[in-house]
Subunit: 376 residues, 4 copies
C-alpha cells in the first residue's frame, strides 16, 4: 500500500521548509503538492525557495551542486532542498491540490479562511497557524498530552458540514511547556505557573529579527506570545466533556524574551501544585514519562518525550536542542521554589517540536487513529 | 581643601578597572594607591593592566599612543587608562597604603581577611566583595535604599575594636533589583517576589565566559548567584533595630541565566504586594522615586534612580544600560501578573550600578555623613 | 550671523539618523528641514522615526521620556532623537525646503534625479549616494585627500546650467581606505593594491542583515561593494586637469565580507609602491599626516586623521571605531609584504567617516571655501 | 583480523576530543589508550573530560544520562563522549601505552620530546603539533597533496635510529589552503599568493578566546599563524629529491584574523600563476580534482576533496563547514584578480580537515602503504 499524499501550504517560508525537510523521507507520508503565495506560483520549488534551515542534521550530506557561473545579485540557497521536491511546481493555496492532507505553515494573516476552504473540500488540515487553535470544535493537540481531543473532529464536521477537518498544534513555547507539564499535571495537579522565556531567533521566521537589534542585546517582548502562553495550555490540559473541552483551571503568568540563539527556546518555570510531592518523586514523574503513544509506533514520536538532565548548568540551547531529533523536551535544575512549589528550566526545539514536527506528529496520530482513510 | 585620598584593592581586574575609570576625575576623591596580587606588585599600573573596560563613555577621547614597534606576543591594551594613574606603582594589599579609604575589588577567595586588616588599621573600606555582606554589624548598603544602616558602623567598631570600618554593596543583580523595589516596598509592601535574570558577560569578569560556551547559547546557571539574590535583599530592605538589622520578610525565588551581552543585567520580576495598588499608582511610585539623597549632592547619584519606560519592548541592555551614567535602573512593561500581583522588566549596568559605581556611591554617602573625617 | 540652514533628504533611514545626530549641535549648521518618503510626510520626525543609532556617544544622556501607557505592536524608539528636531514635520523630497544645503541620505534607487532637481533649483547638495560619484563634473571628495577637486563645481554649474551643485563622498570602505592611502600616495606612489574587507552590519542599513544569516557566520559577498572599492579610489587620488579629473593609475583588487560587528569596517591591505621606503619611513608618513585642513578649522575634522597603533593586535572594531569621534582612521600592523611591498590593517567608522560624517565634513569644506554664500 | 590499536596523546583537550569523536567507530582503528597531563592521570576519561565538541553530527543521538542529583560547582559535560572510551583510565604520556600508533594532540610546549620518545620506542606517531613539521626528515603530509613524502620515514628512522617514526599534518589554515592549491599548482604553477583569513574560535582551543574580546569585534592577529601559513605550504608543495624535500618556490603573504564563528576558517585568496588558464579551465581543475587516493579506499578521504560552489555568496562557515564530513574544502567566487591573476574564497573545517581529521587521514595512508605492520 502506498504512502499517504500530503501537501504543504506556505511551503517556502521557514516553517514550510522544516515541513519539507522532516517529510523528505517520511515512512508514512509523501509530498505531492507544494503551495505558496502568488510570487512563487508556477515555478519549481527549487526556484522559489531560499533555503535557510540547513542546520538540521540531514540523513546524508548535501551533494555538491553542479557548478554554475557567478550570477549578479543575491544567491538563493538551494542545497539541502531534498531532490524529490526540487522539481515540484508550486501551486496556489486552493483546495485542488493532489493530496489527502495538507500541512499549513501559512501566516496568521491569511491562514484562517484558506484552511477552512480545504477542510470544507474534504482535506485533512494539520495546521501550525494560530487562527483556529481556540475554536471550541477544533482540536488543539499534542499527541502525548491530549490525544482524546481528536474526538472533536466529529463534532467539527457535523457542526460545519465539512467533509474534511482541521487539527492544530500549539504555539512553539506552549508546545514544549505543556509536554513537560503533562506528567506533573496528571500526578500532582497544577494550580499556578510562572514562566519566563528566552526564545530563539528562528521563532521570528526569516528574515525576522534584524542583526542590529539583537547583537549584544536581549529584547523583552515578543508580539502576542505571552497571551498564547497564558491561554493555550488551558485548552491542552483541559477535559473533553461532551462536545467541548472544559479548560484546565491553572493560573499562568508569562514573560517572553528574544535572545541571540538560532534554535531552541529556553523557559524558566515555576509551578504551584495541588498535591506537593517530594523532589525525587517529581523528577521521577518527569523522567519516567512515556506518554500514551508507545504502542502506536508513530515515526516522529521520540522514545523519551521528556529528558531530565542532572548537571547543574543544563539544558542549554546549543547543546540540547537536537535531543530526540528535536522532538524531546529537556528539563534541568529541578528544585524547590520558595514562592511557588517547584522550579526548573526546560528547552525545546522551537521549529521542530514547536512547529513543523508538532504538526507532523499530529498527522501521524490522525493516521494511526484512522482519520486519514479516504473520505467517502 | 584637598580631595580625599583613596586606594583600590584588586585594581587590575575588571571591577578594579571600573573603579579607576569612574574615579579618574572624581570631584571628591583622588586615587593615590593601587594594590593588586603579587604578579603586578612593583611595576606601574600601565604595565600591569590589560585594559578591558574601554566601552564606557569617557569624558575625552583616548589620545593616540605614541607608536611603538610591533612586539611579539599578545598586546596589553593600555589606551583608556587615565594618564593620572598609569605611572602609579602597584603595591601589595597591605594596610600601609597612602590613603584614607580603600575600595575593594578583591575576589572573594582573598577579600575577607585583607579587608579586616585594613579596617583594623583605621582605613574606611568600601567593598564590592561578598565576604562581609551578611555580617550582622557590617552595613550592606544602597544609599537610596537604606542609608540609615550606616549606624551599624559604630557598633562594628566597638565590637571589633577597629579604628576603621567596612561597608559593602550588594551583588550586581541584587543592587539593581532592590533599587527598583524600594518605592514599592515603602508604599505597598512586598510579601513575595520571583525574579528570572538574563545576565551580561562582564559579570563573570575577564577572561570569564569562553566564547565557545556562549555563542548561539544561553547558560541557565551562575554559581552562587541565586542564593545571593534570594538573601541579600532581605537585609537591604530590613529595619535597623537597636544594634542589628531585622531582615525583611519577603519570600524570594531567583533563577539566573548568562546571555551573550557585554553589559547590563536584565531581570524579569513578579511581585506580590501587601497592599495592592492600581497600575498607575504603582508606575507613579516607581517614576516619582527620588530617594533620600537629593540634598546631599552626591556626585554619582543619578537624578532619576529609577527610569520608567513606556514602550512595549524596553528596557533593552544595549539601549538602556548607560542611563544615568550607568547608575539608573530602567524599568519597563509594568503590568498585572495573574499569579502574583504585578510583573515588570528591569535593567541595570552590572559593573557600574552593580559594582564599582555602587561602592563609590557608598563612599560618597560616607563622606557626606562625616564618616571620612581623619581618624583620631 | 546665524547658522547655515540645512535639510536632510532620506532623514528617517540609518544614515539619515546619523546626519541628525551629528548635526544636532553643530556650530555652523542648523537643521531646518527633514524630508523622507511618502510614508513619513506630514507627521513629525519623532513620530516618523524608529531611532537605531543610539550607540554613539551623545554629549548628554538621554532624558527619560514621560511614561506612556503600553501600546500594542512594536515600539518605535524615540529617545536619543535630539529635542530640536523631534517636532519638525517631515516634508517631501522636493526642492522647496527651507534651507541652503541638503544632505542626501537617499537610497540609490531614487537619489539620482532628486539630487539633480535640488541642484538645479539652487541648493548645494552634499550626497552620500553613489549615483553621481563618477560623473566627470561632480566632485567625489574627501577633504583631507582632494580638496582641490571642488573646482569641478564651476564646471558642473556651467555645463548643466544649475544654480546649485552636487558634491559626493565615497562609499564607506573607500572613504577610510583612501584617507589612509593619501600620505603613502603622496610620498611614495602606489602602483597596485589588494584589500580584503570585514565590514560591519550597519553598512547594510536597517533592518539590513537578518540575524539568522550572520550569527556564527561570515558572508563573503556584499553587492556592488568590490566594484566601488576598485574604482572610486582612482578618482579620489586622481589629478585635476583642466575641466576633468585624470584618474590615478593604480591597480586595485578588492574582496568584501560581512561580519558580525555593529560598526567599524576592518580592511586588510597590501600595497605595491612606486618608490619603496623603509618601514619606519612609511609609519612616519602615516603617523605624521595632518592633511591640508589644519588652518580651516573645520569642526568635524579630526586632529589626527590617521592614528597609527603599535600593538600587535590592533585596530579592533569595538575598541577603535570611535577614535577621533568616528572621523579618524586607525592603522595597525604595518609590516613588509612578501608579495607586494607593505601590508597593514585599517579601521574606520563606516556610518560616520564612511557616510554621514563624510558628507558633513564635505559641507564644512564648502562653507570654508565660500561655496555656501547665498546664491545670487 | 582485528583493528589497529591506537592511543591519543593530549586526549582531554579540544583536538584530543575530536580524535576521540572521529575514531569512535572507525573501521580500521580502535582506541586502546588515552593519555593526558598529570591532572587527569588515573581517573577515567569520562571523569577527566569536559566535552566541548558536541556540535558535530554524531551517527546516533546522545542517550540521556541517568539523572544525577544537582551538584555544586560547574558541571562537566559528559554526554557525547562515546561509551567505548568513557571508562578508559587516562594514562601518562609515556611510551608504554598499549597501541601501535599514537595520535598527538599535545600542545607545542611539550609535544617535541614526548613525540620523539614514542617514535624511538617503536610507535608510529601521527602528530598535529607544529614541533616537527619542518624537520627535514619528517613528512609534513596531506594525503591528497604529497603522499610520496612518506618516503622520508625510512630516512628518518635510519638517521635517528628509531624503530618508530613521526608524521605530521600542517596547521589548520594551511591544510585547507594547500588542498585547494594542489590542482592549481599541478596544472598551472603558482608563483605568488596572498591570503587573508577569518578564523573560527575553536582554532584557539578551549577556553580559548574570552567572549568579552570577540562579541561585536574582530581581532586582526593570531599568534604564530601568519608565519606558518607563509612557510608550511612550501614544504607541502615541495619536491622529494633524494633524502630531502626541495621547497616550492612560491612567495606567500598571509594576514590572519579571528572572527566570531564556532568552526570553519574562511580564507580570501589571490594567486599569481606560472601559466594563466582561462577561468573555466581553472574552475574545472578545482572541481575535477580527485587526488591520488581513490583506489586506496581510505575511510576518511572525502569523495570530493574540493567542492566548488557557484553561488555568489558562498562558501559560508555555518553552511559549508560540514561538507564531506568536515574533510572537504569548499571554494567559491572564483574570478580574475586585477593585481595577481585569480582570486577566490575557500572554507575548511578547522578542527576536522585542519586538525584531528587530518592526522587520522594521514594514519589511514600509513596503514594503506604498509607502514603500520608490526615492527620487527
Amino acid at each position: 500500500m502506498g504512502k499517504i499524499k500530503v501537501g504543504i501550504l506556505g511551503a517556502t517560508g521557514m516553517v514550510g521548509q522544516r515541513f519539507v525537510q522532516l517529510l523528505a523521507d517520511h515512512p508514512w507520508f509523501e509530498i505531492t503538492a507544494l503551495a505558496a503565495s502568488e510570487r512563487s506560483v508556477g515555478i519549481t520549488y527549487g526556484e522559489a525557495c531560499h533555503w535557510v534551515v540547513s542546520d538540521v542534521r540531514c540523513p546524508e550530506p548535501a551533494c555538491p551542486e553542479p557548478f554554475v557561473p557567478l550570477r549578479a545579485g543575491r544567491s538563493r540557497r538551494v542545497e539541502g532542498i531534498p531532490a524529490l521536491v526540487k522539481e515540484i511546481v508550486v501551486e496556489e493555496c486552493r483546495p485542488d491540490l493532489t493530496c489527502r492532507l495538507v500541512f499549513s505553515a501559512l501566516p496568521a494573516e491569511v491562514a484562517g479562511p484558506i484552511e477552512e476552504e480545504f477542510a470544507a473540500a474534504g482535506y485533512a488540515v494539520s495546521s501550525n497557524a494560530r487562527n483556529h487553535r481556540l475554536d471550541p470544535d477544533v482540536p488543539l493537540l499534542v499527541p502525548e498530552v491530549n490525544p482524546n481531543h481528536l474526538a472533536l473532529i466529529g463534532i467539527q464536521r457535523r457542526r460545519r458540514g465539512w467533509k474534511g477537518f482541521i487539527v492544530t498544534n500549539p504555539n512553539c513555547s506552549t508546545a514544549q511547556l505543556v509536554l513537560a507539564l503533562k506528567p506533573i499535571w496528571d500526578r500532582f495537579g497544577i494550580t499556578a505557573l510562572s514562566v519566563v522565556t528566552m526564545q530563539a531567533l528562528s521563532g521570528a521566521g526569516y528574515p525576522g529579527v534584524p542583526s542590529l537589534d539583537i547583537l549584544d542585546n536581549v529584547i523583552p517582548y515578543i508580539a502576542g506570545e505571552e497571551g498564547k502562553l497564558e491561554r493555550e495550555p488551558l485548552k491542552l490540559l483541559g477535559q473533553l466533556e461532551g462536545a467541548a473541552v472544559r479548560e484546565a483551571e491553572v493560573i499562568i503568568s508569562a514573560q517572553c524574551h528574544r535572545v541571540a540563539t538560532r534554535e531552541g527556546h529556553l523557559e524558566a518555570v515555576s509551578v504551584k501544585l495541588a498535591r506537593e510531592p517530594g523532589r525525587e518523586e517529581l523528577v521521577e514523574a518527569l523522567q519516567g514519562f512515556r506518554g500514551p503513544l508507545q504502542d502506536l509506533g508513530l515515526p516522529s514520536a521520540p522514545e523519551h518525550p521528556i529528558v531530565v538532565r542532572g548537571e547543574i548548568d543544563r539544558p542549554q540551547p546549543r547543546l540540547d536542542r537536537d535531543e530526540g531529533g528535536g522532538m524531546s523536551v529537556v528539563v534541568g535544575r529541578v528544585r524547590e521554589c520558595p514562592v511557588l512549589d517547584y522550579k526548573f528550566v526546560l528547552l525545546g526545539h522551537n521549529t521542530i517540536r514547536g512547529a513543523a514536527g508538532a504538526a507532523i506528529l499530529n498527522a501521524e496520530l490522525l493516521k494511526a487513529q484512522g482519520y486519514l482513510e479516504e473520505p467517502g
